[in-house]
Each structure stands twice: as structure tokens, then as C-alpha cells.
Symmetry: C2
Subunit: 342 residues, 2 copies
């Protein structure tokens, strides 16, 4: 097992390193929050925020995830009551803020796929919100499927936007922001932080990751075109595919591992390419799986035309195919580096 | 370029070898025809023939294809008028006989895929004609899609069966059978057959094959999950995909190459594994492409339910995915052997 990441030469004591990392993230959180407020993120407009607001929301999620993940991995070094209290609140916040972006990205992915499947050139990201200009080259079914998805996902995005605004104005959010503000000036370390090291805890996080990866069906994922991701493509169960869950879990554990590396080596150190590529493959896995579910769910809309339903069926299968491709890419990324470095 | 197949130590002169091969195939044709008549192939029943009749029809097609292919590859060694006259007739015959089997196989492939996509165990071949017992585990859409495909492809198969019976009773067929009977006793060689060799003509057939393979998009086919086969999955053009044509052409040229090897080395010599695997991949490519077209075509049936259309869309994409997988498999089969033998 490659543990080379967890052997820094000699560093400051655990408490100092952890404190510095959490303070950096807390400061970043407060900076992003200020930027979000200044760029109009708190106005009640239901449309897209400006580019700056979107960036600020992303930065807010980014630091919330890092604080939450770090509190989890290095739990024994921190004041238990305090960290157990704030973690679910940070998860609630980043989940709430992520939803609007996720719906927008899902719509863009699905409209892009519809264009690709119609033999049209892929739509560039900046025109993703104006798909109508492309529709002349789509079949009736593809155009109607696109319009249906646009309607459903735009509505979902608008609701998520309102929910995020409501969350940011809530007393629950203000309590989170206050806790983070405290964190920026003083990290509540446990007495253990002065004697125990960071490395065993980071190593334990890596072990949880490698154990979860070992349990993945990597052999079949390594056979291209194994047709596994579409095995329940027409099953009666409308719930998200249970076969995806272990991959989603590895995605979360990989993220915790990445944050633990940041704590040990600093946020400025270059990101491990293997971790980066593997993480991107798992992000694509998650995005494609959710897009496939959205297509299947749109197909259950009452009174749609058969041509619309057909296009949604093709789209669903295409995205499940992407799920399978992402698993293949994850395996390539993960095993290639293991082979070349061990 | 590997020409190792085309270097037999020393054989009989071209005319003798070619004559022996064509006579063997002609004899086989006549034997299969007799068997087909004896096992009830000429009765006007519209259902399946018996297993023997099916075997006899397959043997008839098999020898008709070999005679036709050999006449093509070794054209300069044969009486031109005679071979130009009989080739289109043999092609008509094998095409007519192949259709019934093709519809049956297509239905079996599509029902198998519907079961797989519903998370059911694959149906064994012998129960393919009784899919109803499986339907309880299918969604309504998958079950209806299966029933629709069964209706359409069974009707097509029944028509193909009648057309084949009609063909076998026609004076056109009797003229073909008479020509083949002549071939069994005397092959009309050209004067060139005594001096020219078989090898240059077989080599020319192999060159046509390798040229056609060189023109294939093998680089993209070598990237798993290149998503190329589904690029026109929703295009407005209902015609079979033009991107498939060069692959179908290679399939035919590979078959001509295989028959030329049989002429040179005899039908008893072991088949080149590379040629065999590559040919099987291209058969799968053709079958999946035609199944995808059948699913798309069924989805254009008026007044079907959206759930049926959705299932047919998933099925279409699944089969186009199979097309892509078959291209990948062809490339693996073809390049692997080139690398290991050259």
C-alpha cells in the first residue's frame, strides 16, 4: 500500500498544522460569504446569480466541505462537543448551496448529450442556456425531450436558488457563520492535539479509502463495454441504482483523503495527479448517474409524446453508458499510478 | 503486411485446386438441398421449420456464399460468361434464405437485451419464442416493447419464410440448382487457369481487405467508450447509419479472404484464429446495428404508449453501444495477432 504521501520530513506539531489549515479555510469561508453578499447573492432574484455570486457560492461550499471533512478525519484532535455540533450544520449548508449548481450542470449535460446524439456539434457552455437556436437540427422527439428537461430542471434550479437564499438568511446559517468566525481566530483543540500526530489519522482515512476501493467491482469495470451500468436500465424500481452507491461512497472517501493531504502538505502543494484524475472520474460518475435518473424521471411525466419518451430512453441509456465509462476511467487512473509508483 | 497465409509449400496447379474446392461446395449445396426437401422445407407451413430444415437451409446458404465468393476472387481463372451469370443468382438465393433466420435471431437478441436491461437473467435460446413467462418481472414498458417487437419481427419472419419457400419452388431457383449440379461434375475453367496461380488472386483479395481495414477509424474504435456509435442515435434520418457501412464492407471482404484461404489450404485446415475472432466481432457488429434499427423502427409505430417508446429508446441505445463494443473487439482481434506474428 502506497503511503508515500503520509511521510513528510518533519513538520510542526499536530495541533499547529491542523489549526493553521482550519483557520485558512475558515478565513476563506468568511471572505466568500462577504463576497457573496456584496455581489447580490442575497437579493431575492430567482434567476442566475452574477458570475461573481456563483464563484462566491462555490468558494463557500469549497471551504465548508474542507472544514467539515477535516473535522471528521482529525476528530480525536478536536473538542468533541464542538466539532460534533458544527459538522452536520456545515454539511447542511454545502448541500443546500450545491443544489442550484447541480441542477444547472445537469441540464447543461443533458442538453449537450441530446445535441451530440442528434449528430449536432456540442453546444459550448456559454450557450447552454439558449438551446433553442440548435433545435432546428434536432428531431421532434429530441427537441421535445430537451424542452421538457429544461422546464423541469429550470424549475428545480429556481426552487434550489430560493432555498439557498432562504438558508443564507436563516438564523441556522448565522449560527454556522458565527461558529466559523470563532474557528478563524481560535480552533478548539482537544488535549490530545499536543501529543498525538496527524499522520496516523490521515493514514486511517487513506485506509478507509483503499478498503472501499478494494470492495469495488474493479475487474468488471476494467473490461470495456461490460454493460453493467445499464443492467437495471429498464427495471421497475425508479430509485437511483443501488450499484452506484459504493462508487459514490469512494468519491466521498477520496475527497476526505485529498483534504487530509492538504492538511499535511498545505493547500499550495501540487495535487497528486492520481487522486485528481480518480476524483474527476468519480465526479463524472456521479453527474452522469444523476443525469440518467433525471432523464428516466422526465420520461414518467404524464401525457408526453412517444417520440419524447423514446428520446429520453436513448438519453438515459447514453448517460448510464457514461457511468460505465467513468468507472473504467476511475480504474485506469487509480491502478495506473499504483503500478508506476510501487 | 503479413502474407504468411499465402505461402503454401507446394500444391497442385491452380486449376485443380480451384476445381476441387468448387466441386466440394457444389456437392455440399446439392446435399443440403436434398436434405431441405426431405425434411419438409418445401411444405407451405408458415411457422418454423424443423431443426433439420433449419440446418439444411444454413448449409445451403453456406455453400452458396462460398461458391459465389470463390467465383469472385478467382474470376480470371474461370469462364467469364458462366461465372458472371451465376454469381448474382447465388447472391439472390443466399440473401433470400438468410432473411428468415436473420429476423428470428434479431428478435432473440432484442428480447434477450430487454431482459438483461430489466435485471432479469438472460433467456436461454430455446425459450426465446416464449418470452411471456418472463414478462412478470419486466416493467410495463419493457413488456410492451417486447410484445411489439415480437409481433413485428415474427410477421417479418413469416413473410421471409414464405418468400424463401416461394424462391425454392421457382424456376429461377431450379436454374441455379442446375448450374450448381453442372459445377459439381465439371468446373468451367478459363484457359488462364493452367498457367496463372491462385496465390496472386488470393493475395489481391487480402490486399482489398487490409486496404479497407486501414480506412476504418480504428484509432477511435480503440478508445473504449468513444460514444461514436450513438452519435446519430437521435438523428432525424431513419436510414441505417452511414458510419456502419465501411465496417459491413470489411465484414464481406474478410469473408472473401477466409474463403480464399479455404481454397488454398482446404476446408479441413484449422481456421486462422485472428480471422475467426475478427469475423465474429463483425457479425456481432452487423447484428447489433440491425437490432438497433429494428428498435428505432418499432418506436415509430403509431399510437404506442410513452413507456413502450422509452423502453425502445433504451434498447436502441443499448444495441448501438453493442455496435461500438463490437468495433472495439474487432480492433483487438485484428491488431493483437498482427503484433504477435510480425
Amino acid at each position: 500500500m502506497a503511503k508515500q504521501h503520509l511521510d513528510p520530513a518533519a513538520g510542526p506539531v499536530a495541533g499547529d498544522t491542523l489549526e493553521a489549515y482550519l483557520q485558512t479555510q475558515a478565513t476563506e469561508f468568511l471572505r466568500a460569504l462577504r463576497q457573496h453578499r456584496e455581489t447580490g447573492g442575497s437579493t431575492a432574484s430567482s434567476g442566475n446569480g452574477t458570475e461573481e455570486t456563483v464563484d462566491a457560492a462555490r468558494a463557500l461550499r469549497r471551504s465548508a466541505r474542507r472544514i467539515s471533512g477535516t473535522l471528521h478525519t482529525f476528530r480525536p484532535l478536536l473538542d468533541t462537543d464542538w466539532s460534533e455540533g458544527i459538522r452536520p450544520e456545515l454539511a447542511w449548508l454545502s448541500g443546500t448551496l450545491a443544489r442550484e449548481h447541480a441542477y444547472a450542470a445537469r441540464l447543461e449535460r443533458l442538453l449537450g448529450a441530446l445535441n451530440r446524439l442528434s449528430g449536432c456539434s456540442p453546444i459550448p457552455a456559454q450557450t447552454a442556456s439558449e438551446p433553442r437556436q440548435e433545435k432546428s437540427t434536432l428531431t421532434v422527439g429530441a427537441a421535445k425531450a430537451g424542452a421538457l428537461l429544461e422546464r423541469q430542471l429550470t424549475l428545480a434550479r429556481t426552487r434550489a436558488h430560493s432555498a439557498a437564499l432562504q438558508a443564507l438568511g436563516s438564523s441556522r446559517f448565522h449560527a454556522v457563520a458565527d461558529s466559523v468566525a470563532v474557528l478563524a481566530s481560535e480552533v478548539p483543540l482537544s488535549p490530545a492535539a499536543t501529543s498525538a500526530g496527524l499522520k496516523p489519522l490521515a493514514a486511517a482515512a487513506e485506509d478507509r479509502l483503499t478498503d472501499a476501493i478494494t470492495a469495488l467491482p474493479l475487474v468488471s469495470a476494467g473490461h470495456p463495454y461490460n454493460a453493467e451500468a445499464l443492467v437495471h436500465g429498464l427495471s421497475a424500481d425508479p430509485a437511483p441504482q443501488p450499484q452506484d452507491a459504493p462508487w459514490h461512497q469512494v468519491r466521498l472517501l477520496l475527497r476526505l483523503h485529498r483534504y487530509a493531504l492538504e492538511v499535511l502538505y498545505g493547500t499550495e502543494s501540487p495535487v497528486d495527479v492520481r487522486v485528481l484524475n480518480a476524483g474527476q472520474a468519480l465526479d463524472r460518475h456521479r453527474d452522469a448517474a444523476e443525469a440518467a435518473t433525471a432523464a428516466a424521471s422526465a420520461a414518467r411525466t404524464p401525457r408526453i409524446a412517444p417520440a419524447t419518451a423514446y428520446a429520453l430512453g436513448v438519453l438515459h441509456a447514453d448517460q448510464r453508458h457514461e457511468v460505465e465509462a467513468a468507472r473504467f476511467a476511475f480504474r485506469q487512473a487509480w491502478l495506473r499510478e499504483t503500478v508506476s509508483t510501487s
